[in-house]
Symmetry: D2
Subunit: 341 residues, 4 copies
């Protein structure tokens, strides 16, 4: 049956229709032509990838080409029905009976800052530590991260507090380095469509958190996940972190609807980041709780011992004590949806 429906223009000629049919034939596909009073429609039958490569709308007489099937394959529920569960040092991400909290500083700034935070989040119930050593910054004059020194501190914190950690990688040249330290690599929102980076993280063995580009559609996001999957790395974790809209009262607009949509379209785990989406401390708790209700597999939260000296995104960091309150609240809600924290 059709992989693509090609709607001809009102004034398309029979030559135009023949042209489309011949083109399909030339790539080994069949066509089903439906001639009507006002428009002719051609159904393209055959290999999805071949058909989607052709610029149908560039052909004379073609009005629109409507894909019937999604462009991604491996990351789709059509391909794999059961949920992917990713085990990281014993922590199962994507298991529908659990709700995983990932927490830590946005950027690693010092041993003291990192260790104080790690100790607190562990105590409050976080299962994975976050902390970045490479930071993408809008302004070239902003702090760019401690680089390898930061990764070393994270590795030490892992041992000290028995917490696997996730860290961002910005550059394909750094993938090997980051993968040699981190338990999970993160591709950040600005790099979701950095395809050479996606390919590199797809070729190494560690799980990858793929943040949604703040301007990416869900379909583009799943295509980006497909890039990683296709290279052989099947451990992809999707992180919703807000999209850019006209609203300026919050830093971004958390697309909470993306959670159930992704759960329908894909088998991959879905995490919500309530810190970067809202961009303000007082929004973190309500957004984290909304994530539980929406069916996410977990949250990722910025915590900092002294947010007003933070080098990155202090406005949104919770104090350790606030994170403890958040976990208490999340725990109750998670129980109400049959998940343990």
């Amino acid at each position: 049956m059709s992989s693509m429906i090609i709607v001809m223009k009102k004034d398309a000629t029979s030559e135009d229709v023949d042209h489309v049919v011949e083109r399909l034939s030339s790539i080994g596909c069949e066509s089903h032509v439906s001639v009507g009073q006002r428009r002719t429609i051609v159904g393209a039958i055959g290999d999805r990838e071949s058909i989607q490569q052709i610029p149908w709308e560039a052909m004379p007489g073609v009005d629109r080409a409507v894909p019937v099937l999604k462009p991604f394959k491996f990351v789709s529920r059509d391909f794999q029905d059961e949920d992917t569960v990713i085990e990281v040092r014993g922590v199962p991400i994507g298991d529908s009976s659990q709700f995983i909290a990932i927490a830590g500083p946005c950027a690693v700034e010092s041993r003291e800052q990192l260790f104080r935070t790690a100790e607190a989040v562990k105590k409050a119930g976080a299962r994975v530590l976050r902390g970045d050593a490479f930071k993408p910054r809008t302004s070239p004059y902003s702090f760019q991260g401690l680089k390898e020194e930061g990764l070393q501190l994270l590795a030490e914190a892992r041992e000290e507090f028995d917490l696997p950690f996730v860290a961002e990688v910005l550059d394909p040249r750094d993938v090997e380095l980051v993968a040699s330290y981190a338990d999970i690599l993160r591709v950040g929102t600005r790099n979701m469509a950095n395809f050479t980076l996606l390919q590199e993280v797809g070729r190494q063995p560690k799980p990858v958190q793929l943040k949604r580009g703040f301007t990416a559609t869900i379909e583009e996001w799943l295509n980006a996940a497909e890039y990683i999957y296709k290279e052989g790395n099947h451990q992809v974790i999707l992180v919703e972190r807000g999209i850019r809209t006209f609203e300026t009262a919050s830093r971004n607009t958390l697309d909470i609807t993306a959670v159930p949509i992704l759960k329908g379209l894909s088998h991959l785990p879905v995490i919500v980041d309530p810190s970067h989406s809202g961009g303000k401390r007082e929004l973190v708790v309500p957004l984290a709780r909304a994530a539980v209700g929406a069916g996410a597999d977990g949250i990722m939260v910025d915590v900092h011992p002294t947010p007003d000296t933070a080098k990155v995104d202090g406005e949104q960091a919770l104090l350790p004590s606030e994170f403890g309150d958040l976990m208490n609240s999340v725990r109750r809600l998670a129980a109400a949806v049959d998940r343990s924290v």
Copy 2:
């Protein structure tokens, strides 16, 4: 202190600055001029409304005018610190210990359709009935509602099932009519900035649900609420129903972050509409649950006995049995945030 900060251009002259100062003086306001190496800044001190009327950025030498205070007043937490609770036939909307479900058909189509739905939602725990008699439709060829006959049916259902009801009003000429039947009037998303309609509903005694324009900022929304409040009607209920973004996987993007933001800025009750925001049946339950987590005071849900014959928005209507499941789920979550349904 300053109600407005006026930043002069780099090359503004002293005459430009004097002009600003004189203009402030002419409306009875004071100014505080801060001369720097690169820019001069004027703080405008005095009555907020007077200062916000002036087109500062139209003046020679002015780069930007930054308001320090919000443009709305009565609907702000600054004006009233305690939550507004609106009682409708004994149902308290905005009470932080309760979570209110409003449910019913998108449009009233017939007595049977309405009564079957009303009976089911009442039984499942809804406290208010929804059902519209006037429908705004994008296409002039679509069903526009039963008009007064629909209101009569709603009034009968109210008596039969002991459920107050909310109904939309589209036209200032219909306000009196709708108010003579309904317990709560609704101003829909397309009319949020229909200022003459806002004024009319502000001059009648029934509570008003004000849906967010799907393209309105939170600040514009609160300004619209201010229009109603200022006319003397203090019973305004805010309904978040999704905003328009680039994402096409859902009909709109539910701005769940708006819930805690509104709770911070305003004292008015906040309801979430998970039906119109997502636009698809399978999204309603997760979005309703997210609303509980985010701190909303309730939800408003489309229910229809036979969605695939619905004249409006059948794609998003729950079956009565599905609504029952939703209520069971919402009840558990609400308990986890100390609210009863």
Copy 3:
């Protein structure tokens, strides 16, 4: 041929397909079923309006319904191939050999303000005067217009300077009043989806400027035009005035691409408003010139003798002398696309 293509879900049953086929049959339409290996597709053949009313996506087993034809009819190029040209007191709007400038104050504030402006814009080459007597304002504390007194002043200016005028109408109750004075009525951006207002202006004999809702798609805009047209008023002028996006450097984002798209889809005249879209005086001239290049039929420009005392939108108003410069520049560009000003 098909008016709608209904794509079934992967796991749709043959009962689901039968259900769709029966539903089509029940509204007097035929169906064409194409069964494939992975999906079944049903083409719905018959009356467009009937088919588009059905909530196909609410039916069991239906994945998506893709309309083949646009929902609007009379305003479409399919319905009328030649351009609509609207004559207003001898001024032809929509004539591809002319480029029409409409100019005047955003709001009428006083006889002196209006007459000084009208005299200047007439001298510079404007063919139509603008000036509003009813103003929709985001804040209830802002100036709302001179109402009927403003219309009287506009009528006097028309006689004095031999300029037909356009004025906004906000409320269905005021349509008769505004139509008794103005040569062209305007439905503003906030009222583009105020369907009862659209119907009222569709039932009176004066031409109507229909501004694009700043959040409306082009398809919704043409549907709104269809509302007016369907009531019997065929004199509709489309005004592009910018859409709401994430960019905050300009008030709105002028969608210049809408001009050629509208020219392809519809036969109605298209005017560009460079004042309200940019929201800043220095942007008006470049945007007006871009409108010429894009193929618009004219521009509508705010002019004010003393912008920094303007009661509405002074930031974007040109001085009369600046408007003269604009017209000189536009005249040269229009000549380069074979239009006279």
Copy 4:
């Protein structure tokens, strides 16, 4: 004078204010405190970069921090008043008396395709050839470019037709390779915030075209340009190519307003891409003409000898003959704004 204005909350304590003042003092900056009846405001006086690093809004009692100055420096008109003109093999980009056309295939597919196109665009008046050897593709199943072979073909075409060429670079590891062939490097829309790539192109000697991220604000775009500039490469060309909005009738929404805004904020050349913004062949000519009117320094246009066999973006490619017509039209319009093509 102030680089940042810090507005305290209504209920901020004097300790909160002292804290802000001490923090400023600790980074060598001064403060100006203005105490009002309802709010206190602190003006931060001193080094812009130092002040903008601090997370002011994370501090207790702080409501908002409003920057007075832009975060970018070298690319700003404040830093350099005269226009930057970039000479590429004798072609001056950014010269206000000229309008430069850049044209060629989206992707290099073969010698014949490239040479046929290059010959045609040269003849029609293009001054620079475009053609990519590395293509970022949304789907991993799409054609990714000929890589070095493509660059070799471009270099041969340059000699054959005496046309400098621009080519995209996707990966920091390829910068040296691309720079060894191309006359201008391009950073594409998906990589505008790929900061390590920006730094690499900033460290090599060839001019760089920086496309706007389709979701980037103008301020973020200029920050990205600052990244390149700060590394020592002052030859940055800005390319507006449309932004993502809710409108789906065109691929993206060309932000024509960005042209005059950039010309006000920055001294860098501004080029418009009418092909990728509209995404449809019939939109290219009107958008190119709008670019002339808006004051752009040139256009970049996709041309292909057989668009319906194009491997990338055939929908938007002009035929060589259509490009000739476009140039004739652009030449007339450019003359009307005193530019030669």
